[in-house]
Symmetry: C2
Subunit: 171 residues, 2 copies
């Protein structure tokens, strides 16, 4: 995260959450999003927060913007990006040809966790998937992130699958 | 599956596998693919194999064809679709902005399982992901499908994540 601590109050009320804006990410949010992604013991070594940000991040953002099936969302308070996630609406023949919403890269700023920001952002993602007519919302969570799994269960997600990965590039 | 049993020999050799064509699915393959998807104790009740096939399947296929990030693949022998899977190349900022290949709807015809067809098709998918520069290949497998998980492990996949789902429509 940036060196300035978020101004979001430590004990958030409903009116605080109402002041949170959830919107599509813009080009000027890229650094804040990558900082959120990197601010994590599991992901930190995979990112490069050089200034300026390495070009691949900007190219990836352009790809996200160009993909009509992908939405990169941010939750913003007082001009600070406090949480992020990405949705991709996967087409497919399964389940009578219904789309499924694939959620990736969920992050909530460390200092604002437990205040309902993540719930607010996930709820928005679920509403978008419903509005689009998706048959389900799916995500994977690193098996070590037990708190994250409890959080998703509270939102109604069931732990039905095993998530498997084959890393092709560097870890 | 169709009422005609596949002509693929029960003990496949390398030359048999060489006679398998892996290619993008075509409109005339849709029924065979949906039959493969439905020929499964877990998925059967979710599909509708009426003749003609319900319109949503045709619409979903059109969506797949229109999506430059999705490839629906089939393994074909003697004009019969014996296996299928779908790849979607997800854009994203994580891992230095690298794409990840999301695999969905993997099916191998019941009578041809254990002959190497699934390995052949998955290997092709992994090669496509590598050629595209993806950082990883990911998939989820229903926790009840222990054989499937062993199969993916043999291909190099690690069981690192928990797969969670929130069903929005009918089960």
């Amino acid at each position: 995260m940036s060196s300035e601590p978020p101004s979001f109050p430590a004990a958030a009320s409903d009116s605080d959450l109402a002041s949170i804006e959830v919107r599509r990410a813009r080009r000027e949010d890229i650094r804040a999003i990558v900082e959120l992604i990197a601010d994590d013991e599991i992901s930190a070594l995979r990112e490069d927060l050089s200034d300026p940000l390495p070009e691949p991040y900007l190219e990836a953002f352009a790809q996200i913007e160009a993909d009509p099936r992908t939405e990169l969302l941010v939750a913003v308070h007082d001009k600070q990006v406090l949480a992020t996630l990405q949705i991709t609406y996967l087409p497919g023949l399964s389940r009578m040809g219904s789309e499924r919403a694939q959620i990736e890269a969920v992050r909530v700023a460390r200092d604002t966790r437990g205040m309902g920001l993540g719930t607010h952002l996930l709820t928005e993602a679920i509403e978008r998937a419903k509005a689009r007519g998706c048959g389900l919302v799916q995500l994977t969570s690193d098996a070590r992130r037990k708190d994250a799994q409890r959080f998703y269960q509270q939102l109604g997600f069931a732990e039905t699958h095993v998530g498997m990965r084959l890393v092709l590039g560097p870890q």
